[in-house]
Amino acid sequence: MSASTMEAALLLAGVLFMLGLISVLIRRNIIFMLISVEIMLNAAGLAFIVAGSRWVQPDGQVMFIFILTMAAAEVSVGLALILQIYHQLKTLDSDAASFMKG
């Protein structure tokens, strides 16, 4: 790949990351917040693949596989917690799940 394609790909990763970031901050539904965090993580994964292909090394893709594995583990724990919260509160609004203040 040429240098300009690399930069474009890195820019794409950056835009995806920002989209995820903004959506974590404005969404109030916990499931959507989890999805947005996933988008951020995958954007980081994409950046790793771009970096790996810039230096023609497999390391970037190895890191991507690590990120995928970690994200899967995280989502499974997260969904279990969300189920538990839904059982107790009957809502997934993150403002409702806020007993602790100060």
Partner: protein, 486 residues
């Protein structure tokens, strides 16, 4: 991998095997005591295996790990703390209804993650260690899942930790994109000739600092701390405050020393602002709290600020000061949360200031231990906290960080107020005779009292005779190549 590599990784291997063994035993036969014994034995065995490595020169397992004196000392500290926390957990969970066996599997796994962090020299091992630590922590925090607060704390920590991991990963990707390597040493050579950091690299380092800052809960990345501290079970709170933060701090020191980040004024400015903001915000917000767990949460934020002062000194004395302070902070924090765990009943944790009113008259020894812990956190002479703070001040003065040193002294005075407030509440004469709480079974009660007594003794011992600990720290750091020439 050769035999010698396996020998050096023995603590990690023992922990991994213990987690697997616990899982098999839980499947076959649920018994709290047996699982607990396996856990405690594995921590002790892993700790003892470190003595095999004593006096060695640094051994690198390319490219992921290096086992040097620095790493060995931090692993030892983490393992000892985890052992004490598991003792406190046993008494805490014994009186609860929930299934308590899986707790120990998660405790071992998160300890394993912290141990991996402090010896990693590569982004891949850094990431793996951090995630093993965090994913196990999500579950630990929300372990008492029938409590609404526990679940809330769990999901808050999960979202924010994943959020900060994304920042860390993106930062690592940018650094990799600019330098073409993911080993710390490789990055150091790649940027050695640069006078100023290029924008892309600076963004990368900045995003990594955000990610690390969340895990260390320094201001402005501290929002999750009080809520998670309040919602998590007391022993888990002790674990987050000590092992999790200590592991990440160890990693930060290694990375910064290796890359020599102290050459870049931008990074120093960022860290100075973070340190000052943490000290001020942590102490001022702690003044407003009436919940003991939240007071301790904000106090831990300010303590991380103090640690940053020594870290910013950036020389050998600074790292020694950080390590000494960390030992003192571990002892006191685990002790303080140990008292909270001990006073908790089956319904909820003893977290309100009201729960401590007149404690001295009801349980004189517990109150004495708690007073000692709080005074050490405040930095009163004859406690470990005082010597630690003195050491940090010495490191700061030595490198002429006058602003940071002045803020540290000023904030210690503010901090004194809210620690003394808790002590004063404990010393108040109770108005009416409170109905006696049902006691635990005597043997369990003795276990946690014994743990607290040992911690209090250690606290005073380190405070009165710090030379022994200082000597150990200097000795083990002699074999760390990272410290060479500093």
């Amino acid at each position: 991998m050769t035999q010698i590599d396996f020998l050096h990784l023995m603590p990690l291997i023992i922990l991994t095997l213990a987690a697997l063994l616990n899982m098999l035993v839980v499947a076959a036969w649920r018994n709290h005591k047996i699982i607990y014994v396996i856990t405690a034995v594995s921590f002790v065995a892993a700790f003892l295996s470190l003595f095999e490595l004593r006096g060695i020169t640094a051994h690198a397992i390319e490219p992921l790990f290096v086992i040097d004196g620095f790493g060995v000392f931090y692993i030892g500290l983490i393992l000892a703390t985890a052992l004490v926390i598991s003792m406190l957990s046993y008494a805490y969970f014994e009186q609860r209804e929930e299934q308590k066996e899986e707790y120990y599997i998660l405790l071992i796994l998160s300890t394993l993650g912290a141990c991996t962090l402090v010896i990693s020299t590569h982004f891949a091992s850094l990431f793996l260690g951090l995630e093993v630590l965090s994913v196990a922590l999500y579950t630990l925090i929300s372990y008492l899942r029938t409590r609404e607060r526990s679940d809330e704390a769990g999901i808050k920590y999960l979202i924010l930790a994943a959020f900060s991991s994304a920042f860390l990963l993106f930062g690592m990707a940018l650094v990799y994109y600019s330098t073409g390597t993911m080993t710390f040493a490789g990055i150091a050579t790649a940027i050695a000739d640069l006078q100023e950091l290029p924008l892309l690299l600076l963004t990368g380092f900045g995003m990594m600092i955000i990610g690390i800052g969340f895990k260390l809960s320094v201001v402005p990345f501290h929002m999750w701390t009080p809520d998670v501290y309040e919602g998590a079970p007391a022993p888990v709170t002790a674990f987050i405050a000590t092992v999790s933060k200590g592991g990440v701090l160890g990693l930060l020191i290694r990375f910064f020393m290796e890359v020599d980040g102290f050459r870049y004024p931008t990074l120093i400015t960022i860290f100075s602002i973070v340190a000052i903001a943490s000290m001020i915000a942590g102490n001022l917000l702690a003044l407003l709290q009436t919940n003991v767990k939240r007071i301790l949460a904000y106090s831990s934020i300010s303590h991380l600020g103090y640690l940053m002062v020594a870290f910013l000194a950036g020389n050998r004395l600074g790292v020694e000061a950080v390590t000494f302070y960390l030992v003192a902070y571990f002892i006191t924090t685990v002790g303080a949360f140990g008292v909270v765990a001990m006073l908790s009943d089956t319904e909820r944790d003893a977290e309100l200031l009201e729960d401590y009113r007149g404690l001295l008259w009801r349980r004189p020894w517990t109150a004495t231990a708690f007073t000692a812990m709080l005074l050490s956190l405040a930095g009163i002479p004859l406690t470990a906290g005082f010597v630690g703070k003195f050491y940090v001040l010495a490191a700061g003065v030595n490198t002429q960080l006058w602003l940071l040193v002045a803020m540290l002294v000023l904030n210690s005075v503010v901090g004194l107020y809210y620690y003394i407030k808790v002590v004063a509440v404990m010393f108040q004469q109770p108005e009416a005779e409170a109905e006696p709480r049902p006691r635990l079974r005597p043997s369990i009660y003795l276990a946690s009292v014994g743990t607290l007594a040992v911690l209090t003794l250690l606290l005073v011992l380190v405070g009165v005779y710090p030379a022994a600990l200082v000597e150990v720290i200097q000795q083990v750091f002699a074999s760390a190549p990272v410290m060479a020439g500093r």
